[in-house]
Symmetry: none
Subunit: 396 residues, 2 copies
């Protein structure tokens, strides 16, 4: 059994040797200690041979190939002092199990980061508890950049952290909006946290690090590469409870982040724009074909991400003692929503106007409540209107 | 038992006496002949007393109040000659059961129009078979007017009829787009079909009536009134298989049409726009809270309205069941029709304007010939306009 500092050093070394999301390393780390894996790479010999390390012929062959891959980078691996030296100038390493390690990352399973390099003063776990990722096109329009900045600033004002990449366009606009609101913003890069890419964003990253965080799975000094952006996107999606796509062309990389968010069961939202704008085509497709929620404002986003009845808190208190894992019950509903829900027939369909009459509330209230009730799984849209979900909210 | 002309005249008179959608008149007409109802109003005595005319104490009281209401307008009711005189200058009356009466109107149940006044040359039933209603804000933005016009023109090119109101803004833009594409467009007014409201649209209505239709439940000469627009909206929704909201503020009257469409089980669609525009806020709310389908183009709309698998037909439709006796041949065609038919491409679709240019005849001639050629099985309407029927007239 190795010591805790040794395991951390081993994880740091592994970020040098393997690309993030490598399934072979994910499989090994699920079974063996990081230091054991590192020693195996150095010794060119797979750790153990018992059932503990996935010792089937097929997986063994894959692991041996991976071992060869990782060993290619051994000559460039800094020694322990070198790795430790990277952890200065405000750069630090966090590992699974650390108090600062966000739970959301563990949803990635074996694709979980081996460790994360951080630059900045915020606590990653606490900052990401109430966070939204906001991503979109690099070639943003003035409209998209404006909207991303406004919504990010508004979210920041309301105590939400912004998470995005480091690209030009929507990413930068989102960060700048959050900075204007003096909110915490987190840039997740596809290169070392000290590597200024794009070069024009060196100052922006410094500003972000001053109050927020610059985060990477790659070790300091590492260059970005094309595929790394796609791998990185799963971290953006998993760190937050929801992802908002602000502008995206039909083939935008933002749609890759959207896919990760959907796969992870995160709330996925998109901001519409002019149908005449190619940069909004991806957002419209998400809404139309994926059923992604259309949002137009920070209030919309917060409503989608908050447990029912808590969307419009009177004060800034983020203290809601309800576990986010618990699905909402009828008891959690505000009075209007409860009345609207009660007006639904046990069987068959109904429409908003009918519900308004039966519930004795006005139509605007019904429409507001329908969104909440749908988002929380009480009701669903049908071909002929709306109806109760047979099973109620998932998990109830 | 009264004669058929007498029943039609009675329905015409009822459009003078009662506001459309009056539940009391709807109830009476479900039970009694129109002439019987008219006679009862004139005699100030409810028709019958048996179970035939809804003779319950509660409904009787409501009917008596309604009778008093309708009698208030008796002094202004034109005599039979006066009513008949309205039916000239291209104005005509259609009644339930007429060949030109669209089935969709019957979905309104007791709120079905008593009759409809039409101005224009198209056949209402046939024109509305492939139709979309497109409505939106009077205070449209340049963006909204542009998009409404483009989509309407594109729908028109593909053989779809546009149905809208007569207001400034989106309504007018939709009609103008259809007119540019030389497509049939239908304006459903909340005043007499000869009443120019708004005054600035007198020329537009004349243009619409030239090839399409101006339609109203109110008799010629009747002024618009605030509530009439809302009552009128159910006719716009019921005439078509789908309604598209192009721009709508949070309290736009277009949302009332949307509600009618939803209640009637019609496909409801909305065009998104900039989230910074108040005129798109209603559309975004429809998409977000009502689950209304987001559409960005004519192709999107046609896809939503076409039975599955027919949106982009790969080949000619299966042979129609047409009586095989004496099918017409090309030799039977008049010269204009023959030229129009020759202007059709061997494969693919075309539109009336293209045909007019290629055939060297004017558009009115094309439109006249299209009907003849369709009726005789030479051509057919397709998703994208008009095309040759593969098989030609059946039997050849």
């Amino acid at each position: 059994m190795s010591s805790q500092p040794e395991q951390r050093l081993a994880r740091a070394a592994l970020t040098h040797l393997a690309e993030p999301g490598d399934p072979a390393l994910g499989a090994l780390l699920a079974l063996c200690e990081p230091a054991e894996v590192l020693a195996a790479i150095k010794a060119d010999m797979l750790p153990g041979t018992g059932p503990g390390c996935g010792d089937t012929p097929a997986s063994r062959a894959a692991l041996e190939r991976a071992l060869g891959r990782w060993r290619l980078r051994l000559p460039e691996l800094p020694d322990d002092a070198g790795i430790a030296a990277a952890r200065r100038d405000g750069i630090r390493l966090i590992c699974p199990g650390d108090p600062e390690w966000p739970d959301g990352l563990d949803d990635l399973g074996r694709a979980r980061p081996y460790a994360l390099w951080l630059r900045g003063r915020s606590d990653l776990r606490r900052s990401s508890l109430r966070s939204v990722s906001m991503v979109g096109s690099r070639a943003a329009t003035a409209y998209g950049a404006h909207v991303a900045g406004e919504i990010a600033a508004d979210l920041g004002e309301r105590g939400w952290t912004i998470v995005s990449g480091g690209a030009y366009g929507i990413d930068a606009a989102a960060h700048r909006g959050a900075l204007v609101a003096h909110a915490i913003t987190i840039a997740v890069l596809a290169c070392g946290v000290d590597y200024p890419y794009p070069a024009g964003h060196a100052d922006l990253f410094a500003e972000i690090a001053a109050d927020g965080l610059v985060v990477s799975e790659w070790p300091p000094g590492r260059r970005p590469a094309r595929l790394r952006f796609l791998v990185r996107n799963r971290v953006i999606a998993s760190l937050t409870s929801g992802t908002v796509i602000v502008e995206a062309g039909e083939r935008s990389g933002a749609l890759n982040t959207a896919r990760h968010a959907a796969d992870l069961g995160r709330m996925l939202m998109a901001v519409p724009g002019p149908v005449t704008s190619a940069q909004s085509a991806g957002c419209h497709r998400l809404i139309r074909d994926w059923g992604v929620t259309l949002v137009t404002s920070a209030a919309d986003i917060i409503e989608m991400l908050s447990p029912i009845g808590t969307a419009d808190p009177p004060a800034a208190s983020p203290a809601k003692t309800r576990s986010p894992d618990l699905p909402p019950s009828r008891d959690d509903l505000d009075e209007d929503s409860a009345r609207v829900l009660d007006a639904f027939p046990a069987r068959g369909h109904t429409g908003p106007a009918t519900v308004a009459v039966d519930a004795g509330v006005d139509l605007d209230t019904v429409l507001r409540c329908l969104g909440l009730l749908t988002a929380n799984g009480f009701i669903e849209r049908s071909e002929n209107g709306w109806r109760l979900r047979r099973s109620g909210p998932p998990g109830r």
